[in-house]
């Protein structure tokens, strides 16, 4: 060991050392629900957190732990806990942080399910949210109330591609004594490590770029360990006595890993949003090539932008790396390797032309996912964001003609040819209308 391992090495190795008995180089799939205790003392010790280890896969599992430790290593975090999906990660994290009567300040420009959870589901449990334009720093600061427990947003908003100023918002959160939690699905740790800019908690949908293959759903909550849960009386569920284990105080006993300890002891125990070990294995296979794929995603995104911006059929294109994007300078500063591989655009001819385009492309897949190795297209207003209100759509920067592309890893000349076919179909549709 000659020093701290670098990102690409950690992507391949972190969290796993081949066991002495079998020597399996690949991470073994521990497809088991439970683990044989050595004796009754060992069993009790695991339940009482006197030892590290696994007692039941709803709480933790050796294959999943490798994935968690690898993510923690890549993010520079103290710990990570994997969940069945990105939404499971978000919902569980919020339910661990918040209680009835609490309040959240959230970006108004986010994935439809994130908005739905905050706008429609959590209020039924007495947890309310103020939605604020993520670029309105004063608005975010002013929205914080005495009962606000967290600021939440997406670094790169889905699908509007608004960029959050992580450093500035982290300072607002810190001065209010509350954590900043970010959905970092679109940026991955390869583009940005928000903990270094002061963010405290991170959510990923592992289904997307981190897995990259579209074969497994998964999520993770990453704990930066850089928030002092005992600095005020807002987080007595973490810095006060737990209801079990003789009233354990996670803040005192686990210090920087207090949130993770609480998340596992309450979130995983009581809600059970566990990832399947086999899915953890699949996601680990994807992580091994994260750097290679992200570089190719960025290269193809640059080519796609050049193609779209200069095309006669295209009415408008939005991406943070374009100079007319309001977050362009911020994105360039925060994410010098690129601002993600999602592009949104509109066709001349509006929604009907867009529909014709989506139905005509053959190589690009029309489906509800992003971050796959393959190029994907969708019409967000009628699909991924169709369950949010018309007002929220406007607030979120969604237009009826918007098409979202998740740029894949194909040879770009083939994607380009496929899109040309789609544009021809859109043009025909436009002519018929005339």
């Amino acid at each position: 060991m000659s020093g701290d391992y670098k990102f690409d090495t950690l992507s391949l190795h972190a969290g796993h050392v081949p066991d002495e008995r079998h020597g399996s180089r690949a991470v073994p799939i521990h497809q088991t629900t439970s683990y044989v205790f050595k004796d009754t003392e060992h069993a009790a010790a695991l339940y009482n957190q006197e030892l590290g280890g696994h007692l039941y896969t709803r709480i933790s599992n050796p294959t999943i732990a490798v994935l968690e430790q690898r993510i923690a290593a890549l993010e520079g975090a103290v710990a990570a806990t994997a969940t069945a999906s990105g939404m499971a990660a978000l919902a569980t994290a919020l339910l661990v942080l918040c209680s009835q009567g609490d309040h959240i300040v959230a970006s108004s420009r986010m994935y439809g399910a994130n908005i739905n959870l905050l706008e429609n589901t959590l209020p039924r449990f007495g947890i309310t949210t103020s939605f604020i334009d993520p670029n309105d720093l004063a608005g975010i600061e002013n929205a914080i109330q005495p009962n606000t427990k967290v600021i939440f947003g997406e670094v790169i908003g889905n699908p509007g591609l608004d960029i959050m100023d992580v450093e500035a918002i982290a300072k607002i959160a810190a001065s209010a004594g509350i954590p900043l939690m970010l959905d970092c699905t679109f940026n991955t740790p390869w583009l940005l490590k928000p903990l270094e800019l002061g963010a405290n908690l991170i959510i990923h949908s592992l289904t997307k770029w981190i897995g990259g293959h579209g074969v497994a759903i998964g999520g993770v909550v990453v704990d930066g360990g850089n928030f002092d849960w005992g600095q005020n009386d807002k987080f007595s569920n973490i810095a006060g006595p737990h209801y079990a284990m003789d009233g354990i105080n996670f803040y005192e006993e686990f210090g920087p890993a207090a949130f993770t300890a609480k998340f596992r002891a309450e979130g995983m125990y009581n809600f059970g949003p566990s990832l399947s070990p086999t899915n953890a294995f699949h996601i680990l296979q994807g992580m091994e090539t994260l750097s290679l794929r992200m570089q190719c995603h960025m290269d193809n995104t640059a080519k796609m932008l050049e193609f779209l911006v200069g095309h006669d059929a295209v009415a408008w294109v939005r991406h943070p790396s374009l100079p007319d994007h309001p977050g362009h300078e911020l994105a360039k500063r925060m994410m010098p390797r690129g601002a993600g591989s999602i592009i949104v655009f509109g066709l001349k001819g509006g929604r009907d032309a867009g529909r014709a385009f989506i139905e005509s492309v053959e190589l690009a897949s029309h489906l509800a996912n992003v971050g796959d190795a393959k190029t994907l297209v969708i019409h967000p207003a009628s699909t991924t964001h169709s369950h949010i209100s018309a007002e929220a759509m406007v607030e979120g920067g969604l237009s009826d003609d918007m098409i979202r592309i998740s740029v894949g890893l194909e040879d770009f000349t083939d994607i380009k040819a496929d899109f040309e076919l789609g544009f021809l179909a859109a043009a025909k549709k436009l002519k018929l209308k005339e």
């Binding site: 969290g15 599992n61 430790q69 923690a72 806990t81 002092d228 284990m245 003789d246 210090g255 920087p256």
Partner: protein, 268 residues
């Protein structure tokens, strides 16, 4: 638990159980720039196995208030004063790294107060190079990163943790960053100027266990063995592949070895 000592608020981890000074008492003493969190996987383990555990944060460390102490001798006196304030007559002291120097000094100065000695990843002296001393003064985060990097062995750097989902390096960095800004610098200076190790260790009559790490870069194994050889009743266990932070990296091996030592020396 919260405790007052010399007008300072002191935090003492008790392993999740209410402290009772009637029982057999184990005092875990942390190292340079560390806190009670060094002992996460020891304090709870021993507290639920019949021992009364005290894992204090030195002043200016962890959740304790106050100003960091400026010498190993002062730290040794402080530990004994802490025992006095809790009406503890004698205890087993277990130190890690700098905590070993404190343990050695306390056991030599106060032989009636220290029943047994545990020395984990320690040496008779811990000289600190000028570069690290300078970093601890002028670039604290770099000093912390350097110590966390050197402090962990292969398992730590591979993030292969007995606590599911945890990163040794990430945790270590945040643990040290949470201390008083002067804590690390003061501790390193205290280590650097401490010269009594050999003399004090040679006076210790109590049973002593040294648990050493094969891949220790901060207190290399040969210096740990020298420490064990100096102790009159010293015994030694070497944990293969372990780095300096072995209480976290190899908690099960440390706990079992220490527990066996306590059981055996009980019988003797």
């Amino acid at each position: 638990m919260k405790h007052q000592l010399f007008d300072t608020n002191v935090h003492i981890a008790t392993g999740g159980r209410t402290f009772n000074n009637d029982g057999e008492i184990l005092v875990f003493i942390h190292g340079s720039g560390q806190s009670h969190l060094t002992w996460i996987l020891q304090s709870r383990y021993f507290a639920y196995r019949g021992y009364q555990v005290l894992a204090p944060d030195f002043p200016g460390h962890g959740l304790s208030g106050g100003t960091p102490l400026d010498s190993i001798e002062a730290m040794a006196d402080w530990i004994i004063a802490l025992l006095d304030s809790l009406d503890v007559n004698a205890a087993c002291l277990v130190g890690h790294s700098q905590g070993c120097l404190v343990t050695i000094e306390a056991a030599a100065r106060y032989p009636d107060r220290v029943a047994r000695v545990g020395l984990i990843a320690g040496a008779l002296a811990i000289p600190v190079n000028d570069h690290l001393l300078s970093l601890s003064d002028k670039a604290l985060s770099e000093a912390i990163q350097a110590m966390i990097s050197w402090g962990h062995g292969p398992m730590g750097h591979m993030h292969d943790n007995t606590q599911p989902g945890h990163s040794f390096l990430g945790f270590g960095n945040q643990l040290m960053a949470a201390n008083n800004q002067n804590a690390l610098k003061n501790d390193l200076i205290a280590c650097n100027k401490y010269k009594n190790g050999e003399d004090s260790a040679s006076k210790i009559q109590q049973p002593a266990l040294c648990i050493l790490a094969e891949k220790d870069k901060m207190t290399p194994l040969k210096f740990g063995q020298q420490m064990a050889n100096t102790l009159i009743r010293g015994q030694v266990t070497v944990i293969e592949s372990a780095g300096h932070m072995l209480p976290a990296e190899f908690p099960n091996e440390v706990n079992t070895t220490l527990r066996n030592f306590l059981n055996e020396t009980d019988k003797s």
